[in-house]
Symmetry: C2
Subunit: 195 residues, 2 copies
DNA sequence: GGACGATACGGACTGCGGTCCGATTACGTC
DNA sequence: GACGTAATCGGACCGCAGTCCGTATCGTCC
């Protein structure tokens, strides 16, 4: 999650073991029963661990979801930092923004339920996520580079539009097709970047 | 709330009395203690009413918040439908969109906590609100009239950017001034309406 | 004005997210 | 290998959102 990790103050062997057990159990339960039908007690029980352990390691339910997403997230982050254009460096800012928008949309869509959990478990959770800051900074820089007005605000707007709840609504309630949404959101990125 | 109410199947006298008592109690508690520190039990107790009554009449916590906002909401809705331009009819679509954006931002800002409650109490509550459909339809029509691509999606994007959580974040965490935000969001409306 | 059907009332109850703290276990040191 | 310390563990506990259903109240029709 944090690309600048730094000093690790050692982690006890049992702690590592428990964290893995919890993540494995959570992934399995989410897969077989659906995110909504899994309680934290369920996860703790399935992992053979007390609730206290769960909460000490992951903070809250959204933290657990974030931990599950960690791998996929860093993957996309790496592509943004050092992958081939237009996602990575080397393309015009506007093109990179559009590419990010579409890639992020696809990422959210592929894991809607877990992302939703990481964003909505506690009020305002979305804006406090570590990864959110990453996406936001990325967009800010690109909007600024593209010469858009108020790049900070526009970055927040773009990410607000790509909330898991919103994507889920488009896809499930409104029945939009992913390809159509991608096109629309790519166009949106262009509009936002333009004066 | 619903501008097309239609047939009212009669409301019993005690029901009316209780609804008023609940709304009054809720407003007072929210004002004196802050929305976050008021539970549904508190509201029920303060209103001298059972919890069952509360939930039958308002569905859930977000429903209670929506009921409290009703008056202010319909006020803005009337201005959109039959008020003077640029909020009401008579101005170019783009100008009306910008005016709505700024007015809605001001409305959300003025009641952040209650609006947040109405949007986030249950997952996806925001998109199911009756008033949300109104705002969305209004924006859809104006985006279409302005010739913007994907007017439906753009309407959702605009409203997603004006979530109570987002506005609160801009105003409180980031310390943005309302006037600056209004200007930025007005510009945003123009960008979204342009090709 | 009395009786009956429909509607609303209310508080006990459930399940869940999150906290707390005494017991337990791992790790560095001598 | 034994000891002290610091971190981890785990499950009892709390407050809250939301449900359920027996009971009380209202409106109406005779």
């Amino acid at each position: 999650m944090d690309l600048l990790a730094g000093d690790a103050p050692k982690e006890r062997a049992d702690a590592v073991r428990n964290r893995r057990k919890v993540l494995a159990a959570a992934a399995e339960l989410f897969a077989e029963r659906g995110v909504a039908r899994v309680s934290m007690d369920d996860v703790a029980a399935a992992a053979g661990v007390g609730k206290g352990t769960l909460y000490r390691r992951f903070g809250d339910k959204s933290g657990l979801a974030a931990a599950l997403l960690d791998e996929r997230e860093t993957q996309l982050q790496q592509q943004l930092l050092s992958g081939p254009p237009p996602l990575g460096p080397g393309a015009p800012a506007v093109e990179r923004l559009a590419a990010f928008t579409e890639a992020y949309l696809a990422y959210v869509d592929a894991h809607v339920d877990v992302v939703a959990l990481s964003q909505t478990a506690s009020p305002g959770a979305r804006l406090r996520t570590g990864s959110h800051r990453f996406w936001r900074l990325h967009c800010r820089i690109l909007f600024a580079e593209a010469g858009a007005p108020d790049p900070d605000v526009r970055a927040d707007v773009l990410l607000a539009a790509l909330t898991a709840e919103q994507v889920r609504h488009w896809r499930h309630d409104e029945g939009h097709r992913l390809a159509d949404l991608r096109r629309a959101m790519g166009g949106l990125a262009h509009s936002l970047a333009a004066g």
